[in-house]
Symmetry: C2
Subunit: 202 residues, 2 copies
Amino acid sequence: MTERPAKASGRRPGTSQTREAILDAAMESFTAKGFTSTTVRGVAREAGVDPALVIHFFGTKDGLFDAAVRSRGVPLRRLSEAVEGDRNGLGERLVRRYLSLWEDPETGPRLHAILHAAAASEAAAALLRGFITEEVLRPIAKTLGGDHAETRAILAGSTLIGLALVRYVLKVDALALLPAETVVATAGPAVQRYLTGELDLE
Amino acid sequence: MTERPAKASGRRPGTSQTREAILDAAMESFTAKGFTSTTVRGVAREAGVDPALVIHFFGTKDGLFDAAVRSRGVPLRRLSEAVEGDRNGLGERLVRRYLSLWEDPETGPRLHAILHAAAASEAAAALLRGFITEEVLRPIAKTLGGDHAETRAILAGSTLIGLALVRYVLKVDALALLPAETVVATAGPAVQRYLTGELDLE
């Protein structure tokens, strides 16, 4: 959407830069203040535009969140890269990659913002559901193959989301203070079992 | 706090009924509308009192949430009852009990409201962290015993929270449409391994 050539658009020059400035300000605000405290008015002020223009481009706060997340990408996409390689190390690779995304100063706050928004807004939950299904579940299920590949992938995904929620959002000491590699060594086999172990899925 | 005899309090008669009416209206609103959309003003209106009285009793929306959740209890407390009994069936019993709390029409919406609030407010996250630690982790760790009992309990807890988030909040089909007993049969052994299996916790 940001790559559309200017001459093919009927918009006046500068429109796409304005959209980009709004999306930058929106992602900045969603990440720094959270979904709940972000307002269309505040984003417009940061982007130096009239609030009516934000509404014109994106409709509502939900629409603005949707556009900001889609254009900036969900860092989870990089999870599916961890699927490649030795099948026996799959569980540990996924946990390690997932923790590194949460601990990365660039992607961590964005994951936090997205999870927060999904708990606060049904529209954001639907967006996250779509991303998880299309960008994480399907690629992992495709690599796994077999009858219950998608169920196996979402059970693995629920393990990862649970770890992140307790370790990075609730920050319960017993998990938050554990070294990342200890989490990899203990949770990796749980994820591996869901993906490739014997499961009673009839 | 609700059992304090009226004559021991310097408050005028009716104060404790008023507090109760406010807490009922607050829990109702947090559950029906969510933390973000609940306002002190709205709760006061539903309880038939002046907003200043709500502020007088509970301070802020965070304080109101804290008091409402504490006085009405966190349904998670009932989880630790599942710890009693045959040690080998512990994982499946915990998953079954946890899913039943989420699927119960009385406790499910309250768990949803609490998880939502914890993602939206640092104060609510601290409250949930305290409850999980005191009411769930400690009792389970005490029953388990051993050096890493609390770490084992929180790893098991993260599995449960992840299942609930994906199944009941994000509602991803591949997990939301699975029969509860299939979730018990597949996730039970993961929880069991965290609690009693061989883990590399040095």
